[in-house]
């Protein structure tokens, strides 16, 4: 899991976790890369910061796997930006990853709480 202010959060994420967070963010609606990073940072109350070095490769992986679609559009400030949108396949994957993540988390909790 991400630890507060890591320089390269990607390296510390469990594999697939970053994709899950991105998909969760996009399930609220289409967003561009910066918006996604922003949202994750805010919601996690600065606990999770995602650098470009891991965000964009992760987005490319999701594109490759048909979990998201990308389209160029203009922002409110009239800037060109690439917007990502979750696909039905992406929703399915989010569901699956969330389940296995919950399972894993519960397992970790049990280990940590055992005396």
């Amino acid at each position: 899991m991400g630890i507060a202010r890591p320089t390269n959060p990607g390296a510390d994420f469990l594999p697939g976790t970053l994709e899950m967070l991105i998909l969760k963010t996009l399930s609220r609606g289409p967003n561009h890369g910066f918006g996604i990073a922003q949202h994750i940072q805010q919601v996690s109350r600065e606990a999770l910061r995602i650098g470009e070095g891991s965000l964009y490769p992760a987005l490319q992986r999701l594109l490759r796997d048909d979990c998201v679609e990308a389209e160029w559009d203009v922002t409110e400030n009239n800037r060109r930006a690439r917007y990502y949108r979750i696909t039905p396949a992406g929703r399915k994957r989010l569901q699956a990853e969330k389940q296995s993540f919950d399972f894993l988390l519960a397992g970790i909790a049990r280990v940590m709480e055992a005396s």
Partner: protein, 849 residues
């Protein structure tokens, strides 16, 4: 799907990078923070997601390889030419195989078509009668439909074509498509026929008004109602020229096949029901067959999808040819492997430095293999051009040399390349590239950091050993091919040198159905310019003479026999040594007299006069199939004469016993079952036209075949000539490649050992000693190769030892000659490098470095 997306990204790699860069720039501007994570890393990892990094390095390899080829165009051209030649020959071979064994007939669902017959006691096979066919059609399994056909030869427009009488469902079942008119239908019972596109084009000059024309088949008029599509010539081994309804067969065949009790020789082809395998179909067929043929022991079934069914037997028959062609490609690979090794050795310094700088071995091997593939692809193009040229040349040669009697019946399948040929070429060229590229690649990238750091790039002797092995392998393969060629050549010579004993010049074999034979015999006897005419059952030179059992002193003995009319001995000018030939009266009565060949006379009555002796003919235990066997209706016969033994069977079977006719029984032109009327013309000039004119006065196209007996003999010899050509061609190329291979190795070796030779010269070695040193090396390689080749040839010899008598794989001359040729070639090839070695100037070589 995923692959396709990858390709799309590769295609637009530049756009991909630009978009990603823009996205990240935007991100940075908005976040307004100092560098957070590396942009380069983000780009790099994103590229990797799509495999772009891999693509990039591959592009580099290609560019690097192409630069290398530009620097050494001679090397690239040499490799492309050598591999191109090997690929070209193999593609030729594959194209032929494709046309005959792989490409299915252009009919509806050819893969479900199977022909079948039953095997009865004693391993004999038998086809079906019309009644049995009708019975099978009423059943619903294992075939959805079945057609029946009889094939027979017939003359049309002065040449013989294969005709077929077919059941009414034939065209409906195959749906081959028509060029003109309509196909035969179940309702066609009258004298109508469909001609093939080839016959229409070649014999009727593509006559657009052919429909409705009357054409004579075996002397009977038929109306042409259709011309088959260009791609369809039946689905048998020989191209079918015309089809008539089965109902008309009584008028064109000897016996009425619809009569019950007719032996029938109906060829059945069925379409298996979907999901029924040929194996599964055999059991129900056998139980059906047993209902009328209790002696049936099995069912044989063959696919009718391609001209030659692909099964174990045909593969085995083709194997020697496939192996020979593959061996030539192997030699080409060895040659190129050697060239690559020499080149790689020259690049040893570069590669060694790259290895010591940390280049991964896999990466280097990949780069070297990329080079091989880049050379193999143009070689594939060259190979394609060569194969097209070879096919065209071979076809021209075939038609220029084949005896016309065989040429008319020959089925030349369409030899144009299709996707299978291109697929084969691509697959083999890539396999070749890996074959000739992998060994040098692995060899030169072995990491040798210690030597490299010492600055020593040349002291590795393993490549030399490998090159020696490659040359030895090459010489061995070449020797193997040379030995095979010599054996085939000597076999052909042996067969040609057989004294035939029959005087064939001016003798024609006229074949027709039995009912026309008396008229033909009479007409030709009356014709001016005809010296002699004979009727015969089993004209000579068409295969081994038939054999029958005789009893002598209570014991059974086998002897070959034929039935001939008195003129036979005059037609072939066979000398009568003792006694006399049959009289006309004896022939007409098929009297109990017999002529005996001299060899049989000695064998049956050693030390006695054969004339006046009697032979006893036992009744056969089982009634023989009259289609194959015709026994004289006699219980005994008196020998009235002895004639000279003449070659009557296959010249390839050398062994005289099976080739001579032991007993000649009398027959006459009116007898049912004779197959030939043989005629000797006094003057053979314009013979065919004169005979045709005479025969046409009986009825147009009354004879099926009109063949000069000289052609019949030539047909027997033709396979040897053709095999010899192919073998000579392959062996010639193999020899050429081997010579160039040895030359390359020796030239390289001399230049590599320049320093050593310089030292030897400086120490006082004579020119002769240096020359001997180089020549000895090459002679050793050739000697080792030749020894392996001879061993291999002897190892496979038993496979061929019993096939044909003329092919004698243990004949020592081919082996000795091959060894001599290979050694001479090796010494010739190394002569130039040896001369260069002699010319080494010790002062210059020792100074350099």
């Amino acid at each position: 799907m995923r692959l396709w997306k990858n390709f799309r990204t590769w295609w637009r790699a530049r756009q991909f990078e630009a978009e990603l860069a823009e996205e990240i720039r935007f991100h940075r501007e908005l976040s307004g923070e100092a560098a957070f994570g590396s942009v380069a890393l983000a780009l790099e990892e994103s590229r990797e997601v799509w495999g772009l990094a891999w693509l990039e390095s591959w592009k580099q390899d290609v560019r690097y390889a192409l630069r290398g080829f530009r620097r050494a165009p001679g090397f690239a051209a040499g490799v492309i030419a050598t591999i191109g030649l090997g690929l070209g020959l193999n593609t030729t071979m594959f194209t032929v195989m494709n046309a005959y064994a792989l490409r299915p007939y252009a009919v509806r669902d050819p893969r479900a078509l199977y022909t079948f017959f039953m095997v009865v006691k004693n391993g004999r096979s038998r086809n079906f009668t019309w009644q049995e066919f009708q019975d099978l059609r009423r059943r619903s399994a294992p075939f959805s439909e079945v057609y029946a056909s009889w094939g027979f030869p017939a003359q049309i427009g002065g040449s013989t074509v294969l005709a077929q009488a077919v059941s009414g469902n034939y065209f409906g079942m195959l749906s081959p498509g028509m060029a003109m008119g309509r196909p035969l239908t179940p309702g066609d019972n009258g004298p109508v026929m469909v001609v093939s596109y080839g016959v229409w084009r070649n014999h009727f000059g593509s006559d657009p008004a052919i429909l409705g024309r009357k054409v004579f088949v075996r002397g009977q008029p038929f109306e042409v109602i259709g011309v088959s599509g260009a791609a369809f010539e039946g689905i048998d081994n020989f191209p079918v020229g015309l089809w008539v309804p089965a109902a008309m067969s009584p008028s064109v065949l000897d016996a009425d096949p619809f009569q019950p009790g007719h032996s029938g020789n109906l060829r059945l082809v069925g379409r298996l029901l979907p999901g029924v395998s040929p194996k599964a179909a055999k059991a129900p067929l056998l139980s059906w067959v047993r209902t009328f043929e209790p002696e049936a022991t099995g069912i044989e079934m063959y696919s009718h999808a391609t001209p030659i069914p692909v099964n174990q037997d045909t593969l085995l028959a083709f194997l020697p040819l496939l192996v020979a062609f593959a061996l030539v490609l192997l030699i080409a690979c060895a040659n190129v492997s050697n060239m690559m090794l020499a080149r790689a050795l020259a690049r040893q310094r570069e590669i060694a430095i790259r290895v010591s700088l940390g280049a991964g071995r896999a990466r280097l091997v990949r780069q070297l293999l990329t080079e091989s593939v880049l050379l193999a692809l143009p070689a594939a193009v060259a190979g394609f051009v060569i194969s097209e040229a070879t096919i065209r040349g071979a076809q021209t040669l075939l038609f220029a040399t084949i005896p016309p009697a065989l040429g008319r019946l020959l089925a030349i399948e369409d030899l144009s390349p299709d996707w299978r040929v291109f697929g084969f070429l691509l697959a083999v060229s890539v396999a070749t590239a890996i074959l000739f590229g992998l060994v040098p690649a692995l060899q030169t990238t072995r990491s040798r950091i210690v030597e490299t750091n010492r600055g020593d790039f040349s002291s590795d002797h393993r490549p030399a050993r490998l090159r020696n092995l490659l040359v030895i392998a090459q010489v061995a393969v070449c020797a193997l091919l040379l030995i095979s060629t010599a054996i085939v050549l000597r076999g052909g010579a042996r067969a040609a040198a057989q004294p035939v004993g029959l005087d064939l010049h001016g003798v024609w074999d006229v074949r027709a159905i039995a009912r026309h034979q008396p008229q033909i015999f009479e007409r030709l006897s009356a014709e001016p310019g005809v010296e002699a005419v004979a009727a015969a059952w089993r004209a000579p030179l068409y295969g081994d003479p038939r054999r029958m059992a005789l009893t002598r002193a209570g014991a059974k003995e086998w002897a070959s026999y034929a039935m001939v009319s008195p003129g036979y001995f005059a037609v072939f000018r066979i000398p009568v040594l003792r006694g006399r030939v049959f009289t006309e009266a004896e022939a007409d009565a098929e009297a109990a007299v017999v002529l005996v060949g001299e060899g049989a006379a000695r064998r049956f009555w050693p030390g006695q006069d054969a004339v006046g002796q009697t032979i006893q003919i036992p009744r056969p235990a089982v009634r023989p199939d009259p289609y194959w066997t015709r026994l004289p209706q006699l219980t005994s016969a008196r020998v009235i004469g002895v004639v000279r033994d003449v070659m009557s069977g296959m010249t390839a079977n050398l062994s005289s016993d099976s080739n001579f006719v032991d007993f000649y029984f009398p027959t006459h032109a009116g007898a049912i079952g004779n197959d030939s009327v043989l005629v000797r013309l006094r003057d053979n000039a314009d013979g065919r036209r004169r005979l045709e004119a005479a025969l046409d006065r009986i009825a147009p196209n009354v004879a099926d075949i009109l063949a000069p007996m000289e052609d019949v003999l030539a047909v027997q010899m033709y396979p040897f000539r053709a095999a010899a050509w192919v073998a000579e061609f392959l062996a010639g190329i193999a020899l050429l490649m081997t010579v160039s291979g040895i030359y390359g190795v020796m030239a390289y070796l001399v230049s590599q050992r320049t320093k050593e030779i310089g030292i030897r010269v400086a120490l006082g070695a004579s020119a002769g000693a240096i020359l001997r040193m180089v020549l000895r090396h090459s002679a050793l390689l050739a000697g080792a190769g030749a020894a392996i080749g001879v061993t291999c040839a002897l190892a496979v010899a038993p496979l061929f030892a019993h096939e044909l008598a003329v092919i004698q794989p243990y004949d020592w001359i081919p082996y000795a000659a091959t060894a001599a040729v290979v050694l001479a070639a090796a010494i010739t090839a190394s002569f130039h490098p040896a001369r260069r070695a002699v010319g080494v100037d010790p002062v210059r070589t020792l100074r350099c470095d």
